[in-house]
Amino acid sequence: MKRINIAGAGLAGLSAALTLAKKGIGCNLISVQPSERAQSVLAEGGMNAALDTMGEQDSPTFHYEDTMKGGVYLADPNAVRGLTSAAPEIIRRLHAIGVPFQMKDGELVLRPFGGQKKRRTAYAMSSTGKVAMTALIDEVRRFEASGLIRRYPHMEILSPAIEENRCTGLLARDTFTGECFMFRGPVILCTGGMNGLFSGMTTGSTANTGDVTAAAFVSGAALGNLEMIQYHPTTMTIPGKRLLVSEAARGEGGRLFVERTDPESGRTENWYFMEEKYPELGNLMPRDVVSREMSMVTQDPSCGSRVYLDMRHLSRETWEGKLADLRKEVIHYLQLDPAADPLPVSPGIHFFMGGILVDEQHRTSVADLWAAGECACQYHGANRLGGNSMIAAVYGGHVAAENAAEMVLRHTDPERTGNEPDEADAVSCGKMSASDEAQQMLSPAFAGQVQRFLAEGLPVFRSEENMQKALQGLEDLWTEALTEREKRRLLLARAILLSALSRRESRGAHTRTDYPERDDKQFRKTTAARFVNGEIQIGFQEIPKDRQEGEE
């Protein structure tokens, strides 16, 4: 049986590997660090699934509707139906492999999360990602022992190898020895979001550089909705990164306020603005809405410049049973006890809804190349709901693997399907020459400049003027002296800004002061960025038609 190459060993990669292994198909699970270091372990609040254990008559259809609405109707409806229908079974499966989800009276407990009308989020304190990863890692280990899954846990992924719009393998470099390897055969990319472009400004892992996405882009893979960058409302600055305060904090009752002074009486009060403006969902509106409101109130002259997350009223039972780890973390890093003091919070970059463009089967625009997890553009549209990232990573990895398996079983051409089992998984290309190695370098000063321009051009509120200025700044960085890696990163950064400039409307995470309205006629479409003949091209493509439309 042929082997499929999986790049990245977080939730999506592990899920893909397990799906293949259960079909008896081997894979190479290739990652720069072991799974324990993957960003997935940081995921906190939980995983959405219409399990309907809370007596609220929830159903996958409601989950579908909330996800589509939360993403402001930019997601592929058929893909979202697939995800939301499969979600309950995924959670049951994860529970069966030992994820210690919160339970009561023999049934899973679900917590309320943003943008959802029902309690739908299965969780384990606020360490859901960590404990889900542990169970999946152990499950994968079973197949490592049987030889079906072969791990390569210290390989820096350099690039998918793409010839004539078909992926023929994956180029990687052993971080222990410097030796390079070509893993021949089809590839599933599960390489995470583009944190590296916003270095120091995100809540995620430093290992998710975005450089694989950039390499795929310049090799011909189309990217989608790059402008859709999620600012999570409740983050805090710690040295070197943004620290996430999980949405579970608001799910369990946390309230946002700003200090407001009445101009007449001069009296100052705590204004719980979300509750006043959105009586139904209040503090649990979708993240894009909350981040926008926070940015607005802090610019209001009668309000203070800081928004606080108020959790002082939460019961001891909630702190001990549901948020113990969150409280510990905040005390450790901020020397503030959220049970006693309101936390100063501000929006920070947390998730990339856009990425490598994929269809419902997670196929990219390049044959024999799939993408799943945060590196892919799927399920979340213009704004991701809290609790949908992990479930989408597990489901997406599974779907990609199913489709890749089908291809491998259909074709017999060894060029297409990778190495024979008696061959080595990877062909050594030796160590890089000094000049090739120099082309892989990324100067910190250059990375810092890219980050600065992107940050200036793409805050919560955007405008033509600021984005043009940022784009100009990026274009001025271009010199022939840049390394290959720097050039690729610069191209990706420009593609993000060009995508944002092209979408002349406000939708989800993309809010423009100069185009404040949503324009479904022109822009209820996927922004597609392609690299053709050395040029970045931005176009808009139709969202697939809902196959079930009118049936319900």
Binding site: R37, S127, T134, E139, E329
Partner: protein, 238 residues
Amino acid sequence: MIQIDVLRRKNKEEPAYLQSFLYEPKEPSETVATALRRLNEQASLTDKEGNRADPIVWENSCLQKKCGACAMVINGRPMLACDASLSALKSPVRLEPLRKFPVVADLMVDRSILFQNLKDLNAWLTADADPSEKKNPDAYEASRCLQCGCCLEICPNFAVDGRFYGMASMVPAARLLVQMPEKEKKELAAEYKRHVFEGCGKSLACQDICPAGIDLQGLMARSNAAAVWRRLLWKKRN
């Protein structure tokens, strides 16, 4: 200004040497991880004597104590660089790679043995987990292990390639032992007895070392009961 001494090594063939750097924290809450990142971000890194230095090789990922990547020996104690507050450390701050594992370069070590040992231990479920909620607290606690290796670094009984696999194997095994149906435990219990139970000298050196704060003693007591004592009792009865 803080002096940071780094035990450096280009690769495992080259000899190790100590190199000192001067670092000025910008914020009081900075950690060793912040310092390493900012030193490496300098356009040209120079040591205390003003000599050009290569970037310091170290592993990192989450920078918030959840991934275990940045474990190293800091002023003689194994800990995570992102958990080591500069203000709490005596200057000069001495950074060394974990010594129990083969060095790759500078502060980066090869911790493959952690994962190899878990494979040897048959550390996986062979049937669906017992879903009862009373198992949850231990399963949750044991699911939090970072596989960072700090507990092995401090352990007088652990050696790479030795028979004793240490707490980094005990914790994942504890999760499985608590969740496995009774009749499935035999194989894992036998491996556990051989590679964990019999090797622990109860020095308790690891007690306060775990960066995740996992209750090692509690988990081990219950795992010993599940893997060893219950089996002995069971044997006697038959």
